[in-house]
Symmetry: C2
Subunit: 471 residues, 2 copies
C-alpha cells in the first residue's frame, strides 16, 4: 500500500491574530498570535494524496521555523515513502542527527519543532495511504496477532504493508539516550501486555470518546464577566473539568479561582468536577511552593508548569512540597525531548505527564514517552489547544488508552475551542470527550482557503492588519 517518492515539500507561515481577543494569554505569553509552520509533502504516485503537517508557534518566530524546515527538506526530498517508514528509526535519526544541523539543537527548540512539522506530514501521508486515521494505524501496528504466534515472515525489512507486529511500532522509535530506562525489549513487553482487552477498549473509545477538560474559559486576558459567562456556558455543554491560568498576580488568581470553584462546586477528586491551574513557567522554585500553598484551598488537581521546563530537579522539589497538600505537578508542553521526560519520570518530578504533538519529534518520539510513562505508571494528560494541537494529539492519547495505558484513571486530555474551523477534518467533541477521528490521516490538513487568507505577511487578513498595527 505504501507508495511513491517524495517529489515536493512546501512550507508556509500561517498566523491567526488571536492576540486581538486576549485568547491564549497567560503569565508568560501575553499576546500570542496562534500560528503554525504548515508543511505539505507530495509524492509522484498517481493517487494525488498529500501529507500535511504542522508545528505550533505563537506568531513571531514562525518564519524561523519555516527556515529550519527548508534546511531539513533535503533529507526528505526524493526519498521513497516505503524506505522512510520501512526504517523509520533510521530516518528519524537522520533528521535529528545531521552532522552539521544538530549543533543548533540538538533535538530542541527551532530545529526540533521543524522536525516535528516534517514528520507529522510524513505520518499524515502514510496514514492516508493506508486509509486509516493515525490512531488506528498505530493500534493496528501495535499488534493484533496472538502472543504465541511466530514472528511474521515479513520481519525484518523490507517492510510489507499492513505488517501488524509490535516490532513494527517499536522500529519507529529512536531509543538513543533512553536505554537506561526503556529498552526495545521493555517497549515490546509493554505493547504485548497492551494486547489484553484491546478490542474492547477500541470499541469503548468509538462509543464514548476520550475524556477532555477545557482551557477555553479562563485565559488571563479575559475579564471576570467573560470568565463567568464562558464557565456557565461550558457547564451547560457538559464540561466538568476546567483549567485556569495563574501566576501573574496572587490576588487576581485567588479571585478567579474562587469564581471557578464557586461555579463547579466544592469537591475535588471524589467528584468529576475538577479544577487545574497553569502558571506557564512564571515562578522560581521557592516561589512556586509558596504561591501554590496559598492556592491549595481551591483544591486544584494539578499545578502545571510551575517553573522552567528544563528544571527537572526543581520540579522534583516542588512536587515533594505540594503533593502532601493534594496538588500534583503537571508539565510537558515545553519539555523539548524524550531525555527531559525520562528524567522527570526518574526524579519523580511530575504526577501528570503532558505530551505535545508538535514539540517532540512527532509520533515517533511521543511513542517513546508514552511507553516510558507506562513503565513509571504516570498518567499522560496531553497538552492541546493552540492551532491544530487538538487535532493531532487526540490520535496519540486514543492510541495510548487502547494499546499502552489501558486506563482512564486520572487521565484527561486538554481541549481548547479555537480555530478548528480552519481544518478539513476538525476534532469532534461529544459530552466533553474527544470522539476518535474516522478520516484517514493525522487530521492536520488545513483548508486551503484558510491558509491563503492567514499566510504571513501576504494573506488577506495580515494585509489588512499590518498597516493598522504599524500606525
Amino acid at each position: 500500500m505504501v507508495r511513491g517518492r517524495i517529489s515536493r515539500l512546501s512550507v508556509r507561515d500561517v498566523r491567526f491574530p488571536t492576540s486581538l481577543g486576549g485568547h491564549g494569554a497567560d503569565a508568560m505569553h501575553t499576546d500570542p498570535d496562534y500560528s503554525a509552520a504548515y508543511v505539505v509533502i507530495e509524492t509522484d504516485a498517481e493517487d494525488g494524496i498529500k501529507g500535511c503537517g504542522i508545528t505550533f508557534t505563537l506568531g513571531k518566530g514562525t518564519e524561523v521555523v519555516v527556515c529550519a524546515v527548508n534546511a531539513l527538506a533535503h533529507h526528505v526530498l526524493n526519498k521513497d515513502l516505503k524506505d522512510i517508514v520501512g526504517d523509520f528509526r533510521g530516518f528519524y535519526r537522520q533528521l535529528t542527527s545531521d552532522g552539521q544541523l544538530r549543533w543548533i539543537g540538538p533535538e530542541k527548540g527551532v530545529v526540533h519543532l521543524a522536525t516535528a512539522a516534517v514528520l507529522n506530514a510524513v505520518w499524515d501521508l502514510w496514514a492516508k495511504q493506508e486509509g486509516k486515521p493515525v490512531w488506528k494505524l498505530l493500534v493496528d501496528m501495535g499488534g493484533e496477532r496472538s502472543q504465541h504466534e511466530a514472528p511474521p515472515k515479513c520481519w525484518p525489512l523490507p517492510l510489507l504493508s499492513r505488517c501488524q507486529d509490535p516490532r513494527m511500532l517499536v522500529s519507529c522509535i529512536d531509543f538513543r539516550y533512553i536505554t537506561d530506562v526503556l529498552t526495545e525489549e521493555d517497549a515490546l513487553e509493554i505493547l504485548q501486555k497492551g494486547q489484553i482487552g484491546k478490542k474492547e477498549r477500541e470499541k469503548q473509545m468509538l462509543a464514548q470518546g476520550y475524556p477532555a477538560y477545557t482551557t477555553s474559559c479562563a485565559w488571563l486576558g479575559y475579564s471576570d464577566d467573560t470568565l463567568k459567562q464562558l464557565c456557565a456556558q461550558a457547564l451547560k455543554d457538559g464540561w466538568t473539568r476546567f483549567k485556569v491560568k495563574v501566576g501573574a498576580d496572587l490576588q487576581d488568581d485567588m479571585r478567579r479561582c474562587q469564581i471557578i470553584r464557586d461555579m463547579i462546586g466544592p469537591e475535588k477528586t471524589l467528584s468529576l468536577f475538577l479544577q487545574m491551574m497553569d502558571a506557564n513557567q512564571r515562578w522560581d522554585v521557592p516561589e512556586a511552593v509558596e504561591w501554590m500553598s496559598k492556592l491549595a484551598k481551591f483544591k486544584p488537581l494539578w499545578i502545571e508548569e510551575p517553573t522552567s521546563p528544563d528544571d527537572i530537579l526543581g520540579h522534583a522539589t516542588i512536587s515533594k512540597a505540594l503533593v502532601p497538600l493534594g496538588i500534583g505537578i503537571a508539565t510537558g508542553e515545553q519539555c523539548h525531548n524524550r531525555v527531559i521526560f525520562k528524567q522527570l519520570l526518574q526524579a519523580k518530578a511530575l504526577q501528570f505527564l503532558q505530551i505535545d504533538s508538535c514539540r517532540l519529534g512527532s509520533v515517533n518520539e511521543n511513542l517513546s514517552v508514552l511507553l516510558m510513562a507506562k513503565k513509571f505508571e504516570i498518567p499522560v494528560c496531553p497538552h492541546a489547544g493552540g492551532v491544530g494541537l487538538c487535532e493531532l494529539v487526540q490520535h496519540l492519547i486514543i492510541f495510548d488508552y487502547i494499546s499502552v495505558s489501558a486506563s482512564l484513571e486520572n487521565r484527561v486530555c486538554e481541549y481548547v475551542d479555537h480555530l478548528h474551523e480552519h481544518f478539513k477534518y476538525p476534532v469532534m467533541i461529544q459530552r466533553a470527550s474527544y470522539m476518535p477521528p474516522k478520516d484517514p490521516g493525522y487530521s492536520t490538513e488545513m483548508k486551503e482557503e484558510s491558509v491563503k487568507k492567514h499566510q504571513y505577511p501576504d494573506g488577506e487578513v495580515w494585509k489588512k492588519l499590518l498597516p493598522a498595527q504599524e500606525n
Copy 2:
C-alpha cells in the same frame, strides 16, 4: 562614556569549509564547516565604533540562526546603549522572554544562539566605548572599592559610566530559575570575597596568561601519522595537555589513546602532562560507563560529553561510576542555559564545567554560571575552538580567575589552532597559555575581507566550492 543609539544591526552567514580537511570531526559531527552568524551593530554616535558579535555554528543551519537574529533585531534597534547596559538584566529578559518568540525556545537552541550573537555584539560595543577589553571591564565592574566603603551614589540607575561596584556586575544577570541555588545576595558575597588578592591575580595573568590545552592534534578525521606529527610538534611548542576524540570505535580509540599516552608519558595528575577524552554525546548511559572503563588505563583526566547534554541524571550516574576509576566528567558546550548547569551542579553530575561563549546568553548568562560553579567549588574549563570561540571565552575565564575562582587548580581552557587569522584581534598564545587581550572589546571583530570571502553562498570561496560539490 557610554553613548549612542543603536541605529543599525546587520547579520551575515559566514562559513569556512573546514570539512574538506577533516578538521573538527568527532563521533557525532563528522563533517563540520566551522561557521558563524556574524552580527554588527552600529550607533548614531560620532565615534564610528561598531559592536561585533558571533555565534558559532557548523555550516548548514547558520541561515536559520541568521533568521532568528533578524527576528530579535527589533528589541535592539533604536535603543540607547546606556539604557541597555543601565538595565542589562531587563534587556536580557526582554530578549529571552519575548511573549511570542519564547515559544520556539525558550532560552535554548536557535533563538538562544541568536541571542548570544546579539548580546556578544552589545558587549563588544560597550567594552570598546569604555576603551577596555571585556575581561578588564568585568574585573573593574566586579568592584575595586574597599568592602567597608559606602555604596556608590550612582546606584541605583541611572548608570554612571565606570561605576565600579559588584552590584553593577550582578545587575547584568537574570536570576530567574536559579534563585534556589544562587541569589543576588550570594552573587554579591562571592564577588566581595573575590576582591582579596585581585590585583595580584590580574598582574599574574598579564605576565603568565591562563593555562590552555590543545584539541588540534587528535580529531577523528586525522590519520595516525597526522596525529603523531601534530602531537610531536605541539610538544615542541610547549603544549603538555592534549584532548583526543573518542567514541566512534573502541579499538581505534585504544590505539589513538595509546599513541598519545606514549608521546606525553605515563603520568597523569602528578605531572603537567594530561590527556582528556571527548565522546561528543555518542553514548547512552550504560554504554558510556562500559566504554570508559576500558579506556581508564590511559588515565584520562576527564571524559567529555559522554552522553546527551540534556541528561543531568545520566551524567550523575556516569560520574558515580567513573570517578572511582580516576576519571572526571566534563560537559557544557551544548548545555543550553543556566538551568541545565544549575542542575548538573546540584546533582554532582560533573567534575569539570565547560562554559561556552556562544551557546549561553553571552557574558550575562555565563556570569551566573561562573558564580554557581564557584558556589559548588567546581572548576570551570571553557569550551573553545570552532571559529571565534577562543577569542571570546578567554575574556570570561581570565575574569573568572581574577574575580571569582581565584584558583588555577584543575583548571585549563581549551585551545584549537584554527581560523584565528580571520580576526582583527586574534588570541595570543604564549607557553601554552592565553595571554590577556589588550585591545578594547570582545575580540570578535572579523576582518571584512575574510567575511566577504566566506559569506555563504555568495562569497568567493563558496562560489568556487558549491558548483564543485554539486557535481
